[in-house]
Structure formats: structure tokens, C-alpha cells
Symmetry: C3
Subunit: 214 residues, 3 copies
């Protein structure tokens, strides 16, 4: 059992907690909690494996991923109020999960022969896909598309791995640097309350203002 | 043409009826009715085949599945009010479809070399995935995550196949026992009005009560 | 660089514009704009490649697709109001994208050994899948299921390719005829304001009328 594998399981666990918490918020049942936990924890990696033709997906092959996600859902089921209060810790773990998933996903894509831009996409899908699946299943617009500065650190981290690969740099050092970059930028965004600009907000606002809708 | 294949086509047909009925409820157009019929009838099996790298998916390879789903949508288009009245029959067929899909999906996953927990997940995805896709496309939170005791029979049925496999029991008898277990538990849940407990409802309720929201 | 490849890139570009415009309407952020652009532009082709086991998907392998989609999103970000005014041009390009994607998707499916009905499904998924993914991510019921006569031209175009294949006719001429058929029917529907009939609307309306709900 390598350190990276343990970090990977921690990432699944933390993402699964985010899924189970959404199920509690949306007042789904216990099964919905487990499903959203599995979707959030394993969805990004499964999407990566399907896109890259890695079979069977790690989530199905390695029981550790599955039980990690189920354990997170059960933990939320019995201790949701305590977890909700640990806001900073949850966000830090979530940023760590994002960083690890983006770094690992981008590296896997490069190894599978995907070009630079495609590897960035696969890395972001690995890091963000689980949260998107969680939100689509819960019937809300994915949070990553709406407010949080969540995607920018993912793109930066994935790009770092791709640039390193162009410079013929590989290995655990690159992955850890990429994950660290993601975590630092993400936590800065949380701490300083940074947000991505709204898409075309200025002209939309002006158009509405002209129509007297604002 | 084996008995199991005919049962499989019946499962697709019944699930496709559920999809077409959702389209009628949501006031979509005729094409939406066919698409939701196809999604509900074929989505679970297609997701299973993509996850397990079975190509081409049975839904594309075997025309019978496709026409079974299209026929169900057309039937709903011309006879929706009559079908809606057959509540018990529709539910019984739906439970039968669930049982057959779960049993077949879990067996396929085990044959593809997936581990026990993963095979249960694939079995449940096969049985439930079509309904989830139907609801996501129709813009509602999947019913299986919300109210109905639908997932518990699926998990039980899939687990039966996995346990039988550990005991070196295989073949049609195991699959039929699994399907029967799913059908009996599901129909008991319908008949006795069993529901899954809400996720973390107790603490959420208490928190809201403290805030005076309830 | 063949003419068909350039047309393909134009299709991705135009579909990506539709995705980015939805992000502006839904007031998502810049990242959401790029994601919906990528989803609309590349989603249909990626779904086709995953279903047909073509790896890696063209969207990841060929950087042109990716940059075409990103360029469209950036263009919308800086010039949304101008683009919105070009209604007819946008619709014509959109119809062209639909036609090219349907023709190419159906041809690819036939080459991969999929049967007639399945090839029509794959062709429609290629042409329509991106728009469906765009709308699901944006939290709205896919527009193709609701109002627009968008699917009928897709089914017609895909069927033309399948029928031609049965008659042993292949090649660029068939693909261009199929694309032209899609474009003409689609633009006629836009011009004459044709709509698909609502699913089961007559009986639903009558039922509601009996209950005094209308």
C-alpha cells in the first residue's frame, strides 16, 4: 500500500462526505445518501477511466474505493451535525481531494497518450466530475459552474503536470507539486472569498437595465 | 431465443413504459416520450456495458431491445390513460424488470472479473440506472433517491448473487432466485407502504426546530 | 486537413457557442461558460466514442476540437450581445452542425458494426447528445425533448445513411446528402414554426378538464 494510494482513498472519502451532506440538505433517504456519496467520491475517477478506456474502472476493481465512499456516507448518516460544524477542516480535505484527483487524473491521461489540452480536460474531469454528478443527481446546477472558485485551481494544477511533461519531468514530485498548487490556490480562494466573474454578466445586466427589468 | 432473453426484453419494455409515462406527465413532446422510453429501458444496461467494457452495448447490437423500447413508447402514446389505471400490473412488471436486470447485471459483472462490492454496484446500476437517467433528463430528482423503497431490494438481490458466487453456486437457478427475492421485497414494500428513512432527518429536523423553521 | 474535418470543427464551434450562450442566460461564471461550451460542442461525439469503444475519444485526441470549443466560449464571453442578434445565422450554423454530426455519427456506427436501428440511435446521440448534456448541466429539461422540431430531422438524416448502407451506397456523397436533408428539414421547421406534438397531450388535457383543473 503506497502513500499515494492512501491519499487517493482519503480523497474518495472526503468527496463522498460532500455527497452525503448534499443528500441530507436535499432531504433524500438513506439510499440517496449512499448513492450521492458514491457518485461524488467515485464519479470523477470512473468518468476518467471510461474516457481513457481503463477497464475495469478502479472504483469497481479495488474494493477500498467503494468501502471508503460507503464509510463516509454512514459517517454522515450518524454524525452530520458534528461534520457540518467542521467547516474549515472539511474544506481543507476537499481541497486536498481536488488536488490529488487532478494530479493523478492528468498524469493517467498523459500516460494513456492524450495530448496536452485533452489531458487538462481529463484532469479536471477527474477532480470535478464527482461533484458535478452529485449535483446533477440532486437536481441542482453544479456548484462548480456557479460560484466557487473551484475550477481555476484545477486547471492550474493540471496545466502544471502537462508543462512538466513537456519538459520531460515526471514522477511523484510533479504530482505532489501539482496537488500542492491546487490546494494553495483553492484555500486562498476560500480564505480571501475569491469568485469567478459571471459569464457575460455586464452585457446581460445592461440589456436588462435597458428593459427596466433590474 | 432463450427464456431469459424474452424476460430481458419484457424488462426493457416495462421500464420503457415508465419512461414514456414520465414524458406524458412532464408534458414533453413525442420525441421526448421515445427518448425517455429508450433512456429508462436501455440506460441501465448501457451504463453496465460501458463500465464493464462490453462492446458494442447489447442495446445497440441486438435490435430487439431497441424496438421493445420504441414499442412501449408508442403504446403509451396511444393508450396512456388505460395504462395509468393498471397501477398494480405496472408495478408488478416494474418489480419484475428490476429483479431481472439486477440479477443479470450482477452476474455479468462477476463474469467480467469485478470484485464482490463492485458487482453489487454494477447490478444496482443495471437495475436502477435507467430510471435515474429518465428522471435526470426529465429534470426531477431521481425517484429512487427520494421515497420509494426501491434500492433495498436491488442491493439484496445483487448481494445474493455475489454470496452464491463465493459459495461457487452459479447458473440460472441463482439468477432466478435473486430476481424472485427482488420482486418479493419490492412488492412487499409497495403493499405495506414501506419507505427508506430520510437521510439525517432527525438532526436536520432538530436544527430547524431550534431555529423555529418548523 | 480534409474538407469534412473542417466542417466537423465548424460544427463543434457552433454547438459550443450554443453552450456558452446558455451559461450566460443562466448567469453561471466564466468557467461554467467554458464547461457548457465544451459539453455542447464535444459531448455528442464523446458519447458516440464511448458507446462504440473508440479510444481515445476524438475530442481528447485531436486538439482542434478542444480549442474550437474553447474559442467559441471566449467569443461568447466578449461578444454575447452581438451573437445573440445574429439569430438566423446562429440557427443556420446550428442546423449545419446537427446535420454534419448526425451524418458522421451514423456512418461511424455502421462502420463499427452496429445494426440499423442502433446506428440511427448513435447518429442521433452524436447530433443531439451535446445539447442534452448542456441542458442537464444547466439544470433545465433538454430543449430537444420539449419544443423544437430538432429530433425529427436528426432521425431522418440518420435513417438516410442506414438505408443507403443497405443499398450498398457509401462515401462522402451519402454523408453530404444526409447532412443536407437534416439542414433543410430543420430550417423548414424553424421557418414555418413547426413543432412536435405534445406527448399524450390530448388525454392528459381531457383528464384535467374532467377534474376541473383546466
Amino acid at each position: 500500500v503506497s502513500v499515494l494510494h492512501v491519499l487517493d482513498l482519503v480523497g474518495v472519502f472526503v468527496f463522498a462526505i460532500s455527497g452525503a451532506l448534499v443528500a441530507v440538505e436535499r432531504e433524500l433517504d438513506w439510499f440517496g445518501m449512499v448513492v450521492l456519496g458514491l457518485a461524488a467520491g467515485l464519479g470523477g475517477g470512473a468518468a476518467r477511466d471510461v474516457l481513457l478506456d481503463i477497464h475495469p474502472p478502479a472504483a469497481l476493481h479495488d474494493g477500498g474505493y467503494l468501502w471508503s465512499a460507503v464509510a463516509a456516507a454512514v459517517l454522515v448518516g450518524v454524525a452530520a451535525p458534528q461534520i457540518v460544524r467542521l467547516t474549515t477542516a472539511v474544506r481543507l480535505f476537499d481541497a486536498a481531494g481536488l488536488g490529488l484527483f487532478v494530479a493523478a487524473g492528468t498524469t493517467t491521461a498523459i500516460r494513456a497518450g492524450v495530448t496536452g489540452g485533452g489531458a487538462v480536460v481529463v484532469g479536471c474531469v477527474t477532480g470535478i466530475g464527482g461533484g458535478v454528478l452529485r449535483d446533477v443527481l440532486a437536481g441542482v446546477v453544479p456548484v462548480v459552474l456557479r460560484r466557487e472558485l473551484y475550477a481555476v485551481p484545477a486547471v492550474l494544477g493540471a496545466s502544471l503536470v502537462v508543462v512538466a511533461d513537456k519538459l520531460d519531468l515526471h514522477g511523484g514530485g510533479v504530482e505532489l507539486s501539482s496537488a500542492a498548487l491546487v490546494i494553495v490556490v483553492r484555500m486562498l480562494a476560500v480564505w480571501r472569498n475569491w469568485h469567478a466573474p459571471a459569464a457575460g454578466s455586464s452585457w446581460l445586466h445592461r440589456r436588462r437595465a435597458r428593459r427596466g427589468e433590474v
